[in-house]
C-alpha cells in the first residue's frame, strides 16, 4: 500500500451511519394507534472520501427514506449519522445541507419552472447566506462550467432545456455548496441512454476532480456495476448484503442478490429471457414476514428461515444476513 492510500485510510470516514431506523405510523388518528411501518430498520454504513456506495433494492424497500434521513430532510426514529466524525442527528438542517446534497431522479419536476438557471443554482448560497452577491455569481458560473453548462444559459428557464441539461442543473445546484457527499437517488432513470451516459461520465469526472463521495441509488444493476466501489442490497428496510462491488456482483451470497443479478438484461440478442430463482408474492411492509424477511420468496429457504432472524456475518469483505451463512458464536 502506498503512502497516499495509507493516509486516506487514516482519515475518518466521510459518512458513517449506525443502526439507523425510521418508523412511520400508518393510519394513525386521534382515535387509534397507528400501525408501525419500519421503512428503514437498523441500517449501518461507512463511506470513505472519494468512494461510491450504491444502494439497490426493489420499490418500497426504503432507499429514498434512507437518503432523506442522510440529507436531514427527515428525522430518524433511532440511530446515528456522522459526517467527518461529527454527529448530525439533532443538528440544525442547514449544517447538513452544506455537507450532504441531493440529486433527485426527475429533472423535470425537481426544478422550479419560474426561476432562471442562475437563480436555481445560486439559491442554496442565498438560503445559507454564503458570500457577497458578486462572489455568488462567480461561484454559480464556476459550477455551471464544472457540469458542462454554457454560461449563456444562466438566464434561461428549465423549460428551455433538454432532460440532460436539467440534470446538469440539478448537479450544479448540489455542488454550489461544496458538499462532501452527493446523494444521487436514481439520477439517470428518467433519461435516455445517450443522455444517461453523458451524466454518468460527468459524475465520474466530478468525483475525480473534486474528490467527491457518492451514495448512488439505482435499480439498474449495469449502471451500479459501472459506478460503484461498494454495493448495499436492501430488502424491506434492511441491508441484506454489503460489500465491495466486485464481490457482491461477481460472487453474490444472498439469494436475493442472486435474483437481482439474474434479472439484468444485457443487450445480447442471442440470449432469451432469464429464469429467476424467486418465488412470487410481494411482501407487505406493514406485516413483514417473521424470521428472514425474504423467506417467502426464497428458493433456498429452510425451516429456520421462518423462525429466527439471521445475523449479519462477514465472509471475505462482504457482510451478509442469511441463514445459509450461520454466525459462528
Amino acid at each position: 500500500m502506498n503512502m497516499a492510500a495509507q493516509m486516506k485510510d487514516a482519515e475518518a470516514p466521510v459518512l458513517e451511519v449506525r443502526d439507523l431506523t425510521r418508523v412511520f405510523s400508518i393510519g394513525k388518528s386521534w382515535l387509534k394507534e397507528g400501525k408501525p411501518l419500519r421503512a428503514v430498520d437498523g441500517v449501518s454504513l461507512t463511506v470513505k472520501r472519494g468512494e461510491v456506495l450504491a444502494i439497490v433494492g426493489e420499490s418500497g424497500c426504503g432507499k429514498t427514506t434512507l437518503s432523506r434521513l442522510m440529507l436531514g430532510l427527515q428525522q430518524p426514529s433511532g440511530g446515528d449519522i456522522r459526517v467527518l466524525g461529527e454527529p448530525l442527528v439533532g443538528v440544525d438542517r442547514k449544517a447538513f445541507a452544506r455537507r450532504v446534497q441531493p440529486v433527485f431522479q426527475d429533472p423535470y419536476s425537481s426544478l422550479n419552472p419560474r426561476k432562471t438557471i442562475g437563480q436555481i443554482v445560486g439559491d442554496p448560497l442565498i438560503i445559507h447566506n454564503v458570500g457577497a452577491p458578486s462572489e455568488r455569481l462567480a461561484r454559480v458560473e464556476t459550477v455551471m462550467e464544472q457540469v458542462g453548462l454554457p454560461r449563456r444559459l444562466v438566464n434561461s428557464y428549465p423549460s428551455q432545456m433538454s432532460g440532460g441539461q436539467r440534470q446538469r442543473v440539478a448537479i450544479a445546484r448540489a455542488l454550489v455548496m461544496k458538499p462532501e457527499v452527493l446523494i444521487c437517488d436514481e439520477p439517470t432513470s428518467a433519461l435516455d441512454v445517450s443522455v444517461q451516459a453523458q451524466i454518468l461520465n460527468l459524475l465520474q469526472d466530478l468525483r475525480e476532480e473534486l474528490n467527491l463521495t457518492y451514495i448512488f441509488i439505482s435499480h439498474d444493476l449495469s449502471v451500479v456495476e459501472y459506478m460503484a466501489d461498494y454495493v448495499a442490497v436492501m430488502y424491506l428496510g434492511r441491508f441484506v448484503e454489503v460489500g465491495p462491488a466486485k464481490q457482491v456482483l461477481n460472487t453474490p451470497k444472498h439469494p436475493y442478490t442472486q435474483a437481482l443479478l439474474d434479472s439484468i438484461l444485457t443487450p445480447d440478442a442471442h440470449l432469451g429471457l432469464p429464469q429467476l430463482d424467486l418465488r412470487a408474492g410481494f411482501p407487505d411492509p406493514l406485516n413483514p414476514p417473521p424470521g428472514c424477511r425474504f423467506h417467502p420468496r426464497c428458493v433456498k429457504a429452510m425451516d429456520v428461515c421462518s423462525k429466527s432472524t439471521p445475523k449479519m456475518v462477514r465472509i471475505d469483505d462482504t457482510d451478509v444476513e442469511c441463514h445459509l451463512y450461520p454466525a459462528k458464536d
Binding site: S194, Q204, S263, L265, L271
Partner: protein, 346 residues
C-alpha cells in the same frame, strides 16, 4: 435462456403491415413531422420492437395503428393492413370494433386506460361483455383466470378494488390482463415495464412471451431499454427524429449495428466488466433536432461522427446492409466501419 423459444413463423401473413406511414401534427410553430416514411410488418407470435430516444415518434406510431391520434394530427400511409384488411380509411365506428377486441394497447401510463372511478373487475368484464356478447358470469370467470395468469394472487379480492388502491406494478399487470380479455391478435405495448422492478420486469416479459405463444399474438413492443429489446424481440426498428434509421432481426442489428446512431446507442450502455474509474462510456453528443418544418438531408448529421457536407444536402433513403437488414445513411457499411476504426486508432 437461448433463443429457441422465439416461435414466430416466417411464412404466414403478417398480422399488421404498415407501409409508408407519415404523421404530421399542427403546432403553433408550424407542421411537426412526428413520423415520416415508417414501414414494418409483424407476423403471428412475432415481436417487433420500436426503439429510440424520447420524442423520436414511438408512441405516435403506435397511436397511428390504433387510430387514436390527437385531432391536430394528420395521418397518411400507403397502407396499414390489419389481418389482411386495409384499415387506413376505417371509420371511428369500425375502429371501435377492433380496439380492445382484436387490437389491444398497453399505454405508457396505465392510468390512461384504467378508469379511476370504476372497480377493476367491472372494467375488465365490461370489455369482454361488450365485444363478446358474454354474460357477467362468463366475463368474471375469464377475468379471474387472467389475473391469475398475470401473477396476481387472490384475484377475487383484487377485482373489487379501484385503480388507485393498487401499486404501480399491480396496475401494470391489471392493464395487461385487461388487454388480454379478448385474446387480441395484435398487442401494442408502450414501455410496459419501465416503472417496474427488475425482477418484476423479467416476470412480466416472460408472461407476455408465454401468452403470445398461446394466442399466437403479434406484439409491438416500445421501449428505450436495449436489454429488453435484445432478449424479447424478434425484429427491431431503431427510430430517430420520426424516421426508421435501421431495421432488421435483433440478431442482425445487435451483432452488426451499421447506422452511426445505432452504434452510438449500443456504446452508451454500461457493460459487464467496465468501471467508471477506467472506462468512459460512449455518448452521443448534442440533442435531437426540431421536427417542425421541412428537413433536408440526414436528421442525425449534427450528432454524427461521420457526417460530411453531403449529409446536409441529400435526402437519405433506407438501403440494405443485406437481406432484411436496412439502414438509412449515405455511406456504405464498409465506409462506416472503416472510418470508425480510424477514429478509434487516433
Amino acid at each position: 435462456m437461448t433463443r429457441a423459444d422465439s416461435g414466430a413463423s416466417q411464412t404466414s401473413e403478417p398480422v399488421i403491415d404498415v407501409s409508408g406511414l407519415n404523421v404530421d401534427i399542427s403546432v403553433p410553430a408550424g407542421i411537426l413531422h412526428a413520423v415520416s416514411d415508417v414501414s414494418f410488418s409483424v407476423g403471428p407470435a412475432e415481436t417487433l420492437s420500436l426503439v429510440g430516444e424520447s420524442g423520436c415518434g414511438k408512441t405516435i406510431t403506435s397511436l397511428a395503428m390504433m387510430r387514436l391520434l390527437p385531432r391536430s394530427a394528420k395521418l397518411t400511409a400507403r397502407h396499414i393492413r390489419f389481418d389482411g384488411m386495409d384499415i387506413t380509411n376505417y371509420t371511428e365506428k369500425d375502429m371501435t370494433r377492433l380496439r380492445g377486441n382484436r387490437m389491444g394497447m398497453i399505454f405508457q401510463d396505465p392510468m390512461t386506460s384504467l378508469n379511476p372511478v370504476y372497480r377493476i373487475g367491472d372494467q375488465l368484464e365490461e370489455v369482454y361483455m361488450r365485444h363478446r356478447n358474454a354474460s357477467r358470469k362468463e366475463a368474471r370467470e375469464r377475468a379471474s383466470f387472467l389475473l391469475e395468469k398475470v401473477g396476481i394472487i387472490n384475484p377475487a379480492q383484487r377485482l373489487t378494488q379501484f385503480p388507485h388502491q393498487l401499486s404501480g406494478g399491480l396496475r401494470q399487470r391489471m392493464m395487461i390482463a385487461m388487454m388480454l380479455m379478448c385474446e387480441p391478435k395484435l398487442l401494442i405495448a408502450d414501455e410496459p415495464t419501465t416503472a417496474l422492478d427488475v425482477t418484476v420486469q423479467v416476470q412480466i416479459l416472460q408472461l407476455l412471451r408465454s401468452l403470445q405463444k398461446e394466442f399466437s399474438m403479434a406484439i409491438v413492443l416500445i421501449t428505450h431499454n436495449l436489454g429488453v429489446v435484445a432478449r424479447m424481440a424478434d425484429k427491431v426498428a431503431i427510430m430517430y427524429a420520426g424516421k426508421v434509421v435501421e431495421q432488421g432481426s435483433v440478431q442482425d442489428v445487435f451483432d452488426r449495428p451499421t447506422h452511426p446512431y445505432t452504434r452510438g446507442l449500443l456504446e452508451c450502455i454500461p457493460r459487464h466488466g467496465l468501471t467508471a474509474g477506467h472506462d468512459k462510456l460512449g455518448s452521443i453528443p448534442g440533442i435531437v433536432p426540431s421536427l417542425v418544418g421541412k428537413v433536408t438531408g440526414c436528421s442525425f448529421r449534427n450528432r454524427c461522427l461521420h457526417a460530411e457536407e453531403v449529409c446536409a444536402m441529400r435526402d437519405v433513403a433506407l438501403r440494405p446492409v443485406k437481406d432484411n437488414h436496412d439502414y438509412r445513411c449515405l455511406f456504405s457499411p464498409e465506409e462506416l466501419a472503416g472510418a470508425r476504426e480510424g477514429v478509434a486508432a487516433q
